[in-house]
């Protein structure tokens, strides 16, 4: 077995679990996750000799994974839809509903350390439609580099901001219903 094949076999053993869990986290679908991780290793095999070792193998494979996820998103959501905000704003751009004014009890300084709150937050995030959830997750995983996410996913920056805004609006409603007992 040549060195390339030997290394790829080792990397499959060492990194499959991490990559599969990351793919599933991003795509919320086991089969899509497996297909993408398989493609990650095929890409790594094909571009093995261009890997200069400037980053760790894990970092390199994760970068390939994020690219594959962005490519998946571009193909699946090729026709970018308008992101509707009329549920929250009227035609003049004013807020429609007064519930936005009800404050959260975020005086609890330990809220973010509260596992129950984090579970509710994670469940609310998972309820977002996948066409918003993937760019939102990529946005945070790419350390909020909007230009990079837009370039990879094919979304315009305007649409990315709308997706983030619309996602947060829906998260707010979900949290207010399931945690803060406002709605």
């Amino acid at each position: 077995m040549d060195k390339r094949s030997e290394h790829i076999q080792q990397w499959i053993d060492t990194y499959s679990e991490t990559l599969l869990n990351s793919a599933l986290f991003l795509l919320s679908d086991k089969q899509d996750g497996e297909d993408i991780v398989q493609n990650v290793f095929i890409s790594a095999f094909e571009s093995y000799y261009s890997f200069e070792g400037r980053s760790s193998v894990k970092t390199w494979l994760m970068a390939i994974l994020k690219n594959k996820v962005a490519e998946f998103y571009r193909k699946k959501y090729r026709h970018t839809e308008n992101v509707p905000l009329d549920r929250y704003f009227d035609q003049e751009g004013s807020w429609k509903h007064a519930d936005i004014l009800q404050d959260w009890n975020e005086q609890d300084e330990n809220l973010l350390d509260n596992n129950d709150f984090n579970k509710v937050m994670a469940d609310c995030i998972d309820k977002l439609p996948l066409k918003w959830l993937i760019p939102i997750k990529l946005y945070y995983l790419e350390e909020k580099k909007a230009d990079k996410v837009c370039q990879e996913t094919g979304i315009t920056t305007t649409n990315l901001w709308k997706i983030l805004q619309r996602g947060r609006m829906q998260l707010r409603e979900c949290l207010e219903f399931n945690w803060f007992n406002i709605l």
């Binding site: 077995m1 094949s5 790829i8 076999q9 499959i12 053993d13 499959s16 679990e17 599969l20 869990n21 990351s22 599933l24 986290f25 086991k30 497996e34 991780v37 398989q38 290793f41 095929i42 095999f45 004013s94 807020w95 936005i100 004014l101 009800q102 404050d103 959260w104 975020e106 809220l111 973010l112 709150f117 984090n118 937050m121 994670a122 995030i125 997750k137 945070y140 995983l141 909020k144 909007a146 901001w161 983030l164 805004q165 947060r168 998260l171 707010r172 949290l175």
Partner: protein, 70 residues
């Protein structure tokens, strides 16, 4: 407000946003909520992803892929 969280707005836009937040209690209330959600999302997205593949499926995946890439 979304752009402000990533320092993607110009100084003029920041001034205009702050001026609006001074007079619009609706947006001010929403801005406070964004800050809480932002902190929570950063925490969730930067922690280790949970293990969701069982050992059997994982091993099957590895074996199939190693065979393919021999």
């Amino acid at each position: 407000m979304e752009k402000r969280n990533t320092n993607s707005i110009t100084s003029l836009q920041k001034i205009r946003l702050n001026a609006h937040l001074m007079i619009c209690k609706w947006c001010r209330a929403y801005s406070r909520k964004i800050n809480v959600m932002e902190d929570a999302m950063k925490k969730i997205f930067t922690q280790d992803v949970p293990d969701r593949f069982n050992k059997t499926d994982l091993q099957l995946f590895k074996d199939k892929l190693k065979e393919k890439l021999k």
